[in-house]
């Protein structure tokens, strides 16, 4: 997932009443809470590119979708999240994240604060470090970088998967509410596809792509 609308409240709006109120309810410092359009709409007005930010629920759904697939649970899929603020989240194999948004919010807030989330027996479940999408793609030694976007070439998910049937292929899906990928992102793509003739939500694209990966692997 790229340019994910997932970040903690930026310092410049941390004092806004809407922000402070939510932080109090959660018992957290304002700067530790997740920026969330549902609660912080009024506070977000002055933020740059605010239309692209503050939607942790999109990441939640998209991650939920990916992590619930047999492809992931069997260890055949690596999942990374690159965020709007250029943080990279690495997801441990076999991770289960809470379906409850309340719990997910808590896990993410901990991750931003501590840079790591561990299980009770000390196993790293999630890790975060600073990084651009370009750095991530380089670090994981991707051979092909395939962008999924409504502005891409029309092709079914089945065909997208068949055409890119290599081990080190990265499928990049946007995890933001509006607009398109930035140029910094699109310049990394080997190719860009649209798997439907109208826009689809990130979790639907992910569900379909990964299902078709599984089907191809079974043949």
């Amino acid at each position: 997932m790229a340019e994910a609308a997932l970040e903690t409240v930026p310092a410049q709006i941390a004092d806004h009443p809407a922000i402070a109120s939510r932080a109090r309810k959660l018992g957290l410092k304002a700067s530790e809470t997740l920026l969330d359009r549902s609660y912080h709409h009024a506070a977000m007005k002055g933020l740059p590119e605010s239309w692209k930010r503050g939607r942790p629920d999109i990441v939640h759904f998209a991650l939920m979708e990916a992590l619930a697939t047999p492809l992931f649970t069997s260890g055949d899929l690596d999942v990374y999240v690159h965020t709007y603020g250029n943080k990279i989240i690495t997801v441990a194999g076999g991770l289960r994240i809470p379906k409850s948004y309340f719990r997910f919010e808590g896990v993410m807030a901990s991750l931003f604060r501590d840079r790591t989330v561990k299980s009770d027996d000390g196993k790293k479940l999630l890790e975060m470090h600073d990084g651009t999408l370009e750095e991530l793609v380089h670090d994981i030694e991707a051979e092909r970088v395939v962008g999924l976007s409504s502005s891409g070439v029309q092709l079914s998910a089945e065909q997208v998967v068949a055409k890119n049937n290599t081990d080190r292929c990265v499928f990049v899906i946007g995890a933001f509410p509006k607009g398109h990928f930035s140029e910094k992102t699109t310049q990394l793509f080997s190719c860009t596809y649209s798997i439907h003739d109208s826009g689809l939500e990130a979790h639907v694209v992910i569900a379909r792509l990964l299902y078709d990966c599984e089907r191809l692997a079974r043949m």
Copy 2:
């Protein structure tokens, strides 16, 4: 979706501190809030079949999945939710429900309280009435009722759809956290299938089944 773990807080536990505390934060009467394991775990201990209840997030994800498909947005899919407490929710065509769980919770609480949720211009978006799954199946004149369950006959989603390619076919997916369908539910099934060799979450089953319905329709 059948036997969905979606209900308002039962009267017998409405006075529990965990329940009262959450209700206060939301500014609602305790009996109007959704029973939610994430907040009410301690209060749920004495409830009958508590392991099957209090997971509105499962319904949220499952509904989100179904409503985000082109099959639904094009008007080719009707979606109903039958709840643990035998309420039937009818979903208006083209409905968009909030991805934000906070907003979804609010919409559902309103639905339980008012029995209907309308758009700003008065259009009915969601309706609720008392009813069993059997009554629903009868009311919608289903020709075939196909159950999806990990205890069903192993068949791919693609084949399940191909075998049940009729207009008035109802696919029934459980929207509860643990266990299996009750006998009252399973006795309604023409057949029962499992689309994977291990359990899958409701939203994954829904995503795959509906994707395969679309594919079959395109051929």
